[in-house]
Structures are given as C-alpha cells and as structure tokens.
C-alpha cells in the first residue's frame, strides 16, 4: 500500500518489520512512512503492536525481519543511545524516570552541563531547565524530586525531556493517557511548534477525537499487521475505529438520569489531608456512579487515597451503609468493602514480575483459599480465564507475566483484580487509561452492570466525555475543595470546567 514514489520523501520509513515474542507475533510485516513535517498518528487496539514498533525504532529490541530507513538511508539502531544520536527521541508508554533525581537532573541525564571538565554545574543545569520549562510553558520546578510528582506531572517531565533533545523524529507513545484536556492542549501546542519541514512526529493514542486535532495522517494496525493509512482530514473517527477493531462500536453518549432513590452506601464528611484536601463531603448511593472531575492536581487522587487509608487523613469521617468506619490502611478499607484502583499502574497497580493469574486474584486471595490456607488453584485458574476473556486481555495464557503484556492489557488486568474482589464500593482512578476504544466500551458496560447490581462506584477521570457518559452525578474539584456536585442532566463540559477552575473556593458547594 505504500507507493514507491514516497521513498525519498519519507523522513522515517518502516518496511516489512516483524517481531515475535514467545507465544506472540507482536508485529507482522508492518509498514509505516513518516513524511517530513507531518504528525503521523498510529492507532490500533491494545496489544496491536504499536509499542513494539516503537521499541524497534528506538533500538531497545531488534526486529526479526524488515528494514528501517532514515532519510532514505538504512537505519539499524543498536541501542537507545544510538537512536538518540541519530536524532530519534522517544517518549515511551511507561514512564522512564529516575524518582530520586530532580526534574532538572532527569531531563539532562547523560548531557549534564559541566564546569572544569569533570565537575557538574548544577546552577547551569537548573538555569537551562528553567529556560526549557518556560519555553515549553510547563508548570514544573527544576529542583522538585520526580518521585514526589503525580503521574501527570511526571509525564510532563518526559515530554520536556524528549523535546530537549532537538531531535528530528519525535515518537510519543500515548503521551496524553495521563493528561486531561487542558494539558493535552498544551501538549498539542508544543507538538505544533516542534514540527518544521525538517522534523516529524509519530503520535500514538487511544483518544480518537485527538486525531483530527493534531495529526495529518493516521496509520492503523491490527494484530501486528498494517491495515491502512488515511488522511485525517478526509476520514471520520468511525472509519478509523472500524478499521482498527474490524467491527462496529456503538460509542453513543446516553444521558443518564440521577438514580436518586438508592440509599447512601458511602458518606464522607469533612475530609482533610495535610497537603491539599479541605473539607470534602459527599455521598455515593447504591447503584450510582459518581464521577470526579477536575484539573490536574485538583486533589481527586488525594481524596481517594486518604479515603482508603493509603495516605493519612487529617480529620473527617467515613461511613459505610450509615455506620462510621475507621480506616487506617487499605486493608481496613477492603474490609469495609471499599476497593481502590490507582491511577499509577506501575507503582501501585500491578505486580510486574508475576502472572496475569496472580495479579487478578491478588485482592481476593482469601476467597480462593480453603480454611487451612491452601490455594484452590482450579478456582483461581477458572476466575482468571473468565476475566481474561471477559475483558479481552490479549495474552497467550493466564500464566503470562504481566510485564510482557501491552500497556492497555496491563490496565485491564488491574481492572479485573477489582472486579473479582467484588467490593460494595469501588473507586476507579482513571480506569480507562491507555485502553482502546473497543475495550473501553466493554469496561463501561461492566461498570454499568456493577451499578445495576447495586454497587456504589466512584470514577475519577480526566476524560470529560467519559465522565459525562458514565456518571449519574459529577463531583468537581478545584484546589483540594469540592466546588460542585452536578446531576448528569445539568452537566456540560463548559459547566464542569467552570467549577474546576473556580479559584474562589469557599467550602463545599452542592447543587
């Protein structure tokens, strides 16, 4: 499908790249051509092989067969250093930062400014970083420890680092998965500024509506194979999705009525934390999905973590089914029937070195053990297989190590963990991060099902359409305070943004 006339015009070209891992043909004769001065989107379902292709381009892995060309010259990267030297800079799907180093130290690792030969010049380092961050308009401080930042801010560090290389080809693997709308627009601004007739961007995302905003063309792959390349301007989202999944998806946005009737299952009163959260009070009712919206750093994650005892509360009460419970750690929370799915998958979500099976049952082991503590491995296996097929986790078997799954499939694994646990109250913090459109739909359906079963669900999401689609009511946070709780019927994107940016916070506002 790639016409020969393009050769020579292409900045970066992939011809017939294949790669297999034990049990998986991750890429199968894949094609891609990135032209000078374009933003080229790459889409495909979870596990389609997008990240694998990027790993080959950055020299982390070697293809089994196939060729790459950079400016028409054969390009065979041997390691990440080599790729960087040739002007290819990558933001990987998984964050690759040093948590114990500062923002500045992370950005310039390997390129530290020096004074007198061997000595580092931290002043120069911080100066350059400040300059870079100002130029990019990113709200980061050079000497903050990266480990103290939220995922979203860490993602920004990655972006700043990738842009600081003055690369010719910038590859971004789901850079917006952890960002919300405002930050996404900032990023798009950066990308547009980056693109010149001499450079190009490969952009991977599961957020379909972003494609028309940022990309010139889009390449679709399925099961590791090249499907098609379209001009974004002359194609529709529906078209792209159907090529991606090979079937129709009903991405409708049903407006919901408030459930109103159910009894409150979870009531939070006057929750405070040391850092940010002030006097947050709300209720979630039986059968209800309560959405949490807000800008980055609004404190939604912090509310959830304090609620389940992962962080220390500074006052406030939590009642479940009307009875006050004392929660000082996540085990207490689980006992009280509250489960929390973290936004930070790698750090707080999965056991990378363990199997899918071990991961999905982690929260409910006692359910799978007999009274003597012996595991009933048949039941474990059955449950794991059940959820692997229910959530379409793309894996050769339930025994596969999670570290060998694609990012989206790892996320599905974490979701499955909480579905198996069967809590009365579920807090999902960015549950669809990195999940493809088709699978999102399945997760939405599951959440609806759970709500219909009478569970109370909190869904924290930075994806406003998702919040609007899923929530019965929507809580909006701004700077650690709850600024509004809206019924779905009354909520619009503008409305929510208004409350999310209301800096004159005078305590809890309810509608």
């Amino acid at each position: 499908m790639v016409s020969d006339s393009l050769i020579g015009a292409a900045l970066l070209e992939v011809r017939g790249a294949s790669k297999s891992y034990p049990g998986v043909q991750a890429l199968d004769a894949m094609h891609l051509d990135l032209r000078h001065g374009e933003v080229h989107a790459v889409v495909g379902e979870n596990g389609a092989g997008k990240s694998t292709l990027m790993k080959l381009l950055s020299g982390i892995d070697r293809p089994d067969s196939g060729e790459f060309f950079l400016d028409g010259q054969p390009y065979t990267p041997t390691n990440p250093r080599h790729a960087l030297e040739l002007g290819i800079s990558i933001i990987h799907q998984e964050l690759n930062l040093m948590p114990d180093l500062t923002v500045a130290q992370n950005i310039f690792i390997g390129r530290e400014p020096r004074a007198a030969g061997i000595f580092l010049s931290d002043r120069e380092l911080n100066r350059r970083t400040r300059e870079l961050l100002e130029r990019l308009g990113l709200p980061l401080k050079p000497d903050d420890l990266v480990g103290d930042l939220t995922v979203a801010r860490q993602q920004m560090v990655e972006i700043a680092k990738a842009l600081s290389y003055n690369a010719r080809v910038l590859i971004m693997d789901e850079p917006t998965a952890a960002l919300n709308e405002t930050e996404v627009q900032t990023l798009f601004g950066l990308i547009r500024r980056f693109v010149t007739p001499d450079t190009g961007v490969i952009y991977i995302s599961h957020r379909m509506h972003e494609l028309s905003q940022i990309s010139d063309r889009v390449t679709i792959l399925r099961d590791g194979r090249y499907i098609d390349t379209l001009d974004t301007a002359s194609s529709t989202i529906a078209q792209v999705i159907s090529l991606m999944v090979g079937r129709a998806i009903n991405a409708d946005q049903r407006p919901r009525a408030a459930t109103g009737s159910g009894d409150p299952v979870l009531s939070v009163k006057g929750l405070n934390t040391k850092a940010l959260v002030r006097e947050v009070s709300f209720e979630v009712r039986k059968g209800e999905i309560l959405g949490f919206a807000g800008l980055m750093g609004a404190g939604r994650t912090e509310v959830a973590r304090a609620l389940v005892g992962a962080d220390r509360k500074n006052g406030g009460t939590v009642a479940v089914h009307g009875r006050e419970v004392s929660i000082s750690n996540p085990a207490d929370a689980a006992k009280a029937g509250i489960g929390y799915l973290s936004e930070d998958r790698k750090r707080y979500g999965i056991l990378l070195g363990r199997s899918v099976r071990d991961n999905v049952v982690l929260a409910s082991l006692p359910k799978f053990a007999n009274s003597l503590g012996f595991m009933q491995d048949n039941n474990v296996g059955r449950a794991a297989r059940d959820f692997v097929s229910k959530l379409r986790i793309r894996t050769p078997s339930a025994g596969q190590l999670v570290q060998n799954l694609s990012g989206g499939n790892q996320q599905k694994t974490v979701v499955a963990k909480w579905l198996i646990r069967d809590c009365d109250i579920l807090i999902f913090d960015e549950p669809t991060r990195g999940i493809d459109v088709g699978a999102k739909d399945e997760i939405y359906a599951l959440l609806d099902e759970l709500a219909a079963e009478g569970k109370a669900i909190i869904m924290i999401s930075s994806d406003l359409p998702e919040i609007l689609r899923m929530s019965h009511r929507i809580a909006v946070m701004c700077q650690g305070r709850l600024t509004a709780i809206l019924d779905n019927a009354d909520a619009t994107q503008e409305n929510i943004m208004h409350h999310a940016t209301r800096f004159s916070a005078e305590g809890t506002v309810t509608t």
């Binding site: 297999s20 034990p22 049990g23 998986v24 043909q25 389940v308 992962a310 750690n329 996540p330 085990a331 929370a333 689980a334 006992k335 489960g339 929390y340 973290s342 750090r347 707080y348 979500g349 999965i350 056991l351 990378l352 070195g353 363990r354 199997s355 071990d358 982690l362 929260a363 082991l365 006692p366 053990a369 003597l372 503590g373 012996f374 595991m375 491995d377 050769p396 078997s397 025994g399 963990k417 646990r421």
Partner: protein, 326 residues
C-alpha cells in the same frame, strides 16, 4: 505460528522447573567430577555425611527463602540459631523441662525472634537489613550472657542427642536429623507453592505498595513470614545442639551469608518476588557437595575457598547464559 502455540501449551510449572535445570546441571557435574576424583566420595556414608553437613544451613535457608522472596533479608538467623540452641539447654538442663518441651520451647523462641524482627520491620518501619543486623548482635550477646559463656550440656537428657543422630533406617546410618530436614523441605515447598502465605510472599516481594493497595494487610503477613523464618531458625538451633549434645554459645556469624548465598545461587532474586525452594536446595547442595568433595580429595584448605568462589561464579554465569539463549 505452530511452534509458537506449541510453546504456549507447555504448562508454566514444567518450564519453571526447566529453569532450575542448569543450576541442577552444575550440581550433577560437580557430583560426577568428584565421583571420579575420589573413590571415597560416592559412598552412602559420605553422601549422608553431606546431607548432614547441609542440614543446619539448609534449614536456615528454607526460612530465608520466604523472607527474600518477600523482598526482605534476615541477618539474624546465624546467631539466632545459636541463641535457640542455648535456650533449649536452659529449658532442659537449667529448668529441667522434659525433652519435648525443651525442644518445642526453643523452636517457639526462634519464632519469637522472628516475630520481633517482623514487628520491627513492619510496625516500626526499620529497614530489614538494620532490624535483623541489630537482632544478630543482640542474639550473639545474649547467647553468651544467658549461658555464662559456657556450653550447656544435656546432663539430664542424654537422649536429646538422638533427635539429630537416631538412625531411622536399621542397618544404615541415616540420621533422624536428615529426615527432619527432608520433611521440612517438603513442608516449605508446599507452603510456598500452595498456600496463601506463599502467594503473599511473592506479591509483597514483587510490589509491596501495590499489594498493600489491593487491600492486603502487608504488615501482618510480613510479621508472619519473619516469624516462620524464626521457627526454622529454632529448629536449626535445636538440631545443631542435639548433634553436639551441647548448646555452644559461640559462633553462628557467617551462617546467615551461607544461607542467603544458597538462596541466591538457587535463582531467587534479592529484589524479591521470585524464587523457589527447589532452587534454594540446589544452591545449598552445590556448596555442601563442593565443600565435602574438596575435603575428601584433600585439596589444600587455602585453595578450597578459591575453588568454591570460582565454581559459584561459573555456575551462576552458565545459568544466565542458558536463560539468555532460551
């Protein structure tokens, strides 16, 4: 595609034990080598002697496997074992308890040492290295203080020495202590592979924060894991005392390194989250067989540690090569 799906069908268990194959291969090579090098090596009594020599360190390594899989470390096992030996002497000789009570008491005392370690680590938040280093020093001093720096002899209970030495197979010197060791291996392997405790050990070692956020009471399980390691320490202490028919208050330092080495040679990562009892036992046997073989072939002692060091490096390197190729 066919080869790929075929590969998938090999159950994880078998490929898991294939993983051990090389370390096991090294062990076999060493066994074969010494069998040719000395006619006295591959005799029943020498092989039983090797097992007996491996018993104490091996039992310590069993408990340590759990601790290391859970991402911890235990430096107190060597001197803790000495202290448990002294305690069984105190119970039986000073306090006149019957043998069974003295043994049980000392084993539980080992559990108590482990419990304190677990408490210091989980509840007080002291890093495992420091917590167990502190305990190592305390235990080594207490052994001397409690015993008055003298061995305690089992004057009242000469039969206590049978615990290690009683011959279980008539006509053959197969000591009860070795049988206990073999039983403990099976018990430990079952606990690790089949019970919820084993699962939690792997989970905690793999990602403690994620395990905690999954609603698991990590503090509790860590205390249980260290306490269990402590029980193994108690058993090792009792068996060592039984073997010498006396509780020796000195020594034990360095045993922790031997036990940890057995675990790590067996493929368990100090990062936690991975490992197996089979691996640990192969690791322990490699060291025990090598040590015995070098003695039997009368290699000068100053060369022995050079050879042991090199063989460990080569064996582990071969293992890495093999995994890379696979």
């Amino acid at each position: 595609m066919t080869t790929i799906s075929l590969k998938n069908r090999i159950p994880a268990k078998i490929s898991g034990s294939l993983q051990q194959l090389f370390a096991f291969g090294s062990l076999i090579v060493i066994l074969v080598f010494f069998s040719f090098a000395s006619p006295y090596f591959f005799t029943t009594s020498n092989l039983v002697g090797i097992l007996m020599a491996a018993t104490v360190t091996g039992i310590l390594a069993l408990g340590t496997t759990f601790v290391i899989i859970a991402g911890g470390i235990d430096l107190s096992i060597g001197t803790g074992m000495i202290l448990c030996g002294v305690m069984t002497g105190v119970f039986q000789t000073y306090w006149g308890w019957p043998v069974w009570a003295g043994v049980l008491g000392a084993v539980l005392f080992g559990g108590l040492i482990g419990f304190v370690n677990g408490f210091n680590i989980s509840v007080l938040g002291i890093p495992p290295f420091i917590a167990t280093l502190g305990m190592m020093l305390v235990a080594s001093g207490l052994s001397l203080v409690i015993s008055g720096t003298k061995p305690i002899y089992f004057k009242e209970h000469p039969e206590f020495q049978l615990l290690m030495n009683y011959s279980v197979i008539p006509g053959m010197r197969f000591p009860l202590g070795v049988l206990i060791f073999l039983i403990l291996i099976v018990v430990a392997a079952v606990i690790l592979a089949k019970t919820i405790l084993g699962r939690y050990a792997y989970s905690i070692g793999s990602n403690e924060a994620a395990t905690e956020l999954s609603g698991v009471n990590v503090a509790k399980w860590k205390i249980i894991i260290y306490s269990m390691a402590g029980l193994f320490v108690g058993i090792a202490g009792v068996l060592a005392a039984s073997r010498l028919s006396s509780a020796q208050p000195v020594g034990g330092m360095g045993l922790e390194l031997e036990a940890i080495a057995a675990v790590v040679i067996g493929g368990t990562s100090l990062q936690g989250g991975k490992g197996s009892i089979v691996g640990t036992m192969i690791g322990a046997l490699i060291v025990a067989v090598l040590t015995n073989g070098l003695r039997v072939t009368a290699v000068p002692q100053e060369w022995q540690s050079v050879v042991v060091g090199c063989v460990i490096l080569v064996a582990v390197y071969m293992d890495i090569l093999r995994r890379k190729r696979a």
